[in-house]
Symmetry: C2
Subunit: 145 residues, 2 copies
DNA sequence: AATGAAATGTAGCCTTGGTTACAAATTAAA
DNA sequence: TTTAATTTGTAACCAAGGCTACATTTCATT
């Protein structure tokens, strides 16, 4: 049975597509978490330092360091040894977008009667997988009542 | 070091907690995707084979192979060289739970007016981050109209 | 039963994201 | 200004999850 398609399985290719996207999402999540944290810290204390990020993200400063190198490579941040970290324009935009998305998801969950704590917790994972369409639906719902 | 806490930042520790959880979630996602796929395939064709899984998950058979080794190590599947893959009791339970969660999330998104395609796509990413509380809220909402 | 195709396994490499241990630079205090 | 503490950087390791290339097994077909 080479080419004959007698599988009773549901659309293997499309399935694969889904997993691929969800895998790709994962690679962007970290970047979003970082730029968001950097934006917050910069706002709150004037600058974002490696140690702050480490504490905030719950990892060691080493991990932060190497991740920042990648983010710089990808054009999201500017760093110089022993200096504060700054977002590039691209990074800044990503941060804003992420923050907005995060807030929307949290507000939406809250509107379903979920506690603040759980809303925040779940949103952290969910927000990265919400497409523009779904985000729009959330916002629609929030306005509508 | 240690005890001085004079940061103006919002609850760094709790923040870190969130990230930690979301990181942990990621490590469980793959397992869920695999057991779900194995359950589906077994149901649909009587057995789950490496190649099917590879096609389904959009990765090479090599990746599937090594992942299966990990799943076996973790007690979710039973595999023997050149044989079909079977779920353990634990694996089976996880698969069912995952499937139910997946369906609920999809149904919930659909109920918000989101297209089937997008619902499926987003659910794939979202479902892994939905806590029992939130899932319950989704179900509540689905029943309530 | 022999042979060729398909499935499965293995070796070895890559990137990401995490770690500890140690080195160097910066900052704060004596 | 020297010294001590803190912050940042670097080296070297680990596991997970991808890959390609090649070897082996199984299966189908003649």
């Amino acid at each position: 049975m080479s080419n004959a398609a007698k599988k009773a399985v549901p659309h293997p290719v499309q399935q694969a597509e889904r997993f691929r996207r969800s895998r790709h999402d994962r690679s962007v999540e970290l970047a979003q978490d970082y730029v968001e944290a950097i934006a917050d810290l910069t706002l709150a204390q004037g600058e974002a330092r490696v140690t702050d990020l480490a504490r905030r993200l719950g990892v060691t400063h080493v991990t932060v360091n190497r991740t920042l190198a990648r983010l710089q490579r990808d054009g999201l941040v500017n760093t110089r040894p022993y200096r504060a970290i700054f977002l590039t324009d691209t990074g800044g935009k990503l941060a804003e977008e992420s923050k907005r998305r995060h807030q929307t998801v949290v507000a939406f969950l809250r509107s379903l009667g979920i506690s603040e704590k759980i809303s925040e917790l779940d949103a952290e994972g969910i927000e990265h997988h919400v497409s523009p369409e779904t985000l729009a639906a959330f916002e629609r719902r929030l306005k509508k009542r």
